[in-house]
C-alpha cells in the first residue's frame, strides 16, 4: 500500500514563535493567539482569511472550539487531534490533503502554553492507563526510562551516550538567542544531575517553559503570490505521515523500535527524498533517549548504533547531521508539547533565517512524538528548488 500525497502542492506560508522561555502574566490562549496573528502577518494574510483551525492544547480538550471563539472566526473545519506532541505533524498532513482538495483555503496551526510561569510543571490531564497506574510510574517519564533501560540492555547504550544528546542540544542552544537554556553544560554536569526514574536523570529531560508557535498553510500557488506581495518564500510540504503503534509502552512489540520507522519511511517516500538529501533533522526530544531512537528508526543510523552516533558528535554543531539546531526541547523550549516548534525550526532552516543557519538547506525533516513513544509523525519540508 503506497500513500497518495499532494507533494509540494501545499506550503507553509507563514510562521511565528512567541513568548518562548518565560511569558509571565499571559494565558495559554493569549500566547497562542499572538503566535497565530504573527504567523498570519508573516504570510501576508489576515485573520479573516483563515477558514480552518488546527490546534491541540495541553489543558483544554475543546481547544479547537475555544480558539475559534477567541479569534472570533467560524472555521469551515476544526481539528483538535489529540495524539500528543506529534499532533502538529498530523495537522500538517491533514491540512495538506484538505487544502489540495479545495475543501479549505487557509489553515492556521497553532499551539501555546504558559506552563512554566503558571506552575512550573508539565501541565497535562493525561495519565497512565488503569493497568499501569497502580504501580505508580511517573507519567510520562517512566515509560521513556523503560525504553532506555531496554535499549541499554540490548545495545549497550550508556548514560554517557544519552548525555551526549543533551550536550549537543545545549551546544546549539548556546548560539540561539531564543533558546531558554544557554549556560555551558559538561558531561560531568549531566551525569551528576538528580536521578528521577532510572536510567533517566534530570539532564535527560526536556525543559518546562512557556511558549507558543503557529504556522499558516495554503496551496503553494497562493503562497507564491503572497511572497510576491511581500510575504515570505513558501516552504512546500513534500511529505507527511503519522503512525500510531501503541498507547502504553508496555504494549510495544519492541520498546526500542517506534512508529517513526513507519512514519519516516512513508513521509520520505512521498517526498521522494533519501537520507542524503536531508540537510537537517528536527526530532522531538522530550527525553535524551528519544533522539537516539528516532535517529535509528528514521534510518539515519542502524538500530542500536544511535548511542555511538550521538557520542561521535554527528548531531552537534559541525557534525554530519545537524539535529535540533534551535536547541530542541532539551535546551530551547518545551511548553508541554514541542511538535510545532520542531516544524518551525525546519521552516526557518529552509528559509535561511535560523539562528544557527545551516548552509544550503533544501530539504528538512521534522519529527514529532506523542504520548509514551506512542504516536509518531514525520513531515518533510522543502525549498522552492525541490519542486
Amino acid at each position: 500500500m503506497s500513500d497518495a500525497f499532494p507533494r509540494g502542492r501545499t506550503a507553509i506560508a507563514g510562521l511565528a514563535t512567541y513568548g518562548v522561555g518565560e511569558a509571565p502574566g499571559q494565558t495559554s490562549m493569549e500566547l497562542t493567539a499572538k503566535a497565530g496573528l504573527l504567523a498570519l502577518a508573516d504570510a501576508g494574510l489576515a485573520l479573516r482569511d483563515v477558514d480552518a483551525l488546527y490546534i491541540c492544547q495541553p489543558d483544554d480538550f475543546f481547544a479547537g472550539l475555544s480558539f475559534a471563539e477567541y479569534l472570533g472566526i467560524r472555521p469551515r473545519y476544526t481539528d483538535n487531534n489529540r495524539t500528543g506532541g506529534s499532533a502538529f505533524m498530523s495537522h500538517v498532513a491533514s491540512a495538506a490533503l484538505a487544502l489540495d482538495a479545495g475543501y479549505i483555503d487557509c489553515a492556521l496551526i497553532a499551539y501555546g502554553s504558559n506552563q512554566r510561569t503558571s506552575g512550573g510543571k508539565l501541565a497535562t490531564k493525561i495519565t497512565s492507563n488503569q493497568w499501569d497506574a497502580p504501580y505508580r510510574p511517573i507519567f510520562p517519564l517512566t515509560a521513556y526510562a523503560l525504553a532506555a533501560q531496554r535499549h541499554m540492555h540490548e545495545y549497550g547504550t550508556t548514560r554517557e551516550q544519552l548525555a551526549h544528546v543533551a550536550l549537543s542540544a545545549r551546544a546549539w542552544a548556546m548560539t540561539n538567542p531564543e533558546a531558554f537554556a544557554r549556560d555551558p553544560l559538561t558531561l560531568e554536569d549531566c551525569l551528576a544531575t538528580r536521578m528521577i526514574s532510572t536510567p533517566i536523570s534530570r539532564a535527560d529531560c526536556c525543559l518546562v517553559t512557556d511558549g507558543a508557535a503557529a504556522i499558516v498553510m495554503t496551496r503553494t500557488d497562493r503562497a507564491r503570490d503572497l511572497a510576491q506581495e511581500g510575504g515570505k518564500p513558501p516552504v512546500p510540504v513534500l511529505g507527511a505521515a503519522a503512525a500510531a503503534w501503541w498507547n502504553s509502552i508496555v504494549q510495544a512489540e519492541d520498546m526500542t523500535v517506534t512508529g517513526a520507522k513507519e512514519s519516516g519511511a512513508r513521509a520520505m517516500a512521498m517526498a521522494g527524498v533519501t537520507h542524503a538529501d536531508i540537510a537537517t533533522a528536527q526530532l522531538y526530544d522530550a527525553f535524551t533517549i528519544n533522539t537516539i531512537l528516532f535517529l535509528e528508526d528514521l534510518g539515519f543510523c542502524a538500530k542500536g548504533e544511535g548511542g555511538a552516533f550521538v557520542e561521535s558528535g554527528a548531531i552537534a554543531p559541525g557534525g554530519s547531521l545537524p539535529v535540533n539546531t534551535n536547541g530542541g526541547g532539551l535546551s530551547c523550549c518545551h511548553p508541554g508539547m514541542y511538535g510545532l516548534f520542531a516544524i518551525a525550526e525546519a521552516v526557518r532552516q529552509i528559509r535561511g533565517e535560523a539562528a544557527n543557519q545551516i548552509q544550503g538547506v533544501d530539504v528538512a525533516l521534522a519529527h514529532g512524538n506523542g504520548g509514551t513513544l506512542s504516536s509518531q509523525a514525520t513531515v518533510i519540508l522543502g525549498s522552492a528548488a525541490t519542486l
Binding site: Y135, R136, P137, L146, Q149, I196, S197, T198, S248, Q251
Partner: protein, 120 residues
C-alpha cells in the same frame, strides 16, 4: 453480563490470575473483547504466573522514602504487563531475571505483584 475487564478483576479478587488466548494461541493482556488485530474470540486461561523481567526503572523519592521499582514483565505465555517486583533493593533487579506472580490483597484493591522466582 459483565465485560472482560470486570471478569478479570473478579477473578483477581479470588486470587486467580487470568489471561486470554486467541484461537491462534496468542496470549493477550490486558483483557479485551476480541483478539487484537484479528477480531476473533478469546478464551480465558489461568496464567502460569511465571515470567521474566523485560525492563524496569527505579523511581526515586525524596529521602527518607526509598526508591521503588516499576517493571515490565514478559509472561512465559508471551503477553507483557506492568508490575512491581517485591523483595528486591535497587541494584538487585536485572533484565532477564525469572519472576513469579502473586496477588497482594493488603490494599484497597487486589494487586498483581511479582517476586524473584528463586525467592518464591
Amino acid at each position: 453480563m459483565s465485560g472482560p475487564e470486570a471478569h478479570w478483576r473478579a477473578a483477581l479478587a479470588e486470587g486467580r490470575f487470568l489471561i486470554q488466548r486467541s484461537a491462534a494461541g496468542k496470549a493477550v493482556f490486558p483483557p479485551r473483547l476480541m483478539a487484537p488485530g484479528e477480531g476473533g474470540a478469546l478464551d480465558w486461561v489461568e496464567a502460569s504466573g511465571r515470567g521474566t523481567v523485560h525492563s524496569f526503572s527505579w523511581i526515586q523519592q525524596r529521602p527518607p522514602e526509598p526508591s521503588y521499582n516499576v517493571a515490565v514483565i514478559e509472561l512465559d505465555e508471551g503477553a507483557r504487563l506492568m508490575s512491581r517486583v517485591e523483595g528486591v533493593r535497587e541494584g538487585e533487579l536485572a533484565i532477564g531475571q525469572r519472576v513469579a506472580a502473586f496477588v497482594d490483597t493488603a490494599g484497597d484493591a487486589p494487586l498483581l505483584l511479582f517476586r524473584l522466582e528463586d525467592a518464591a
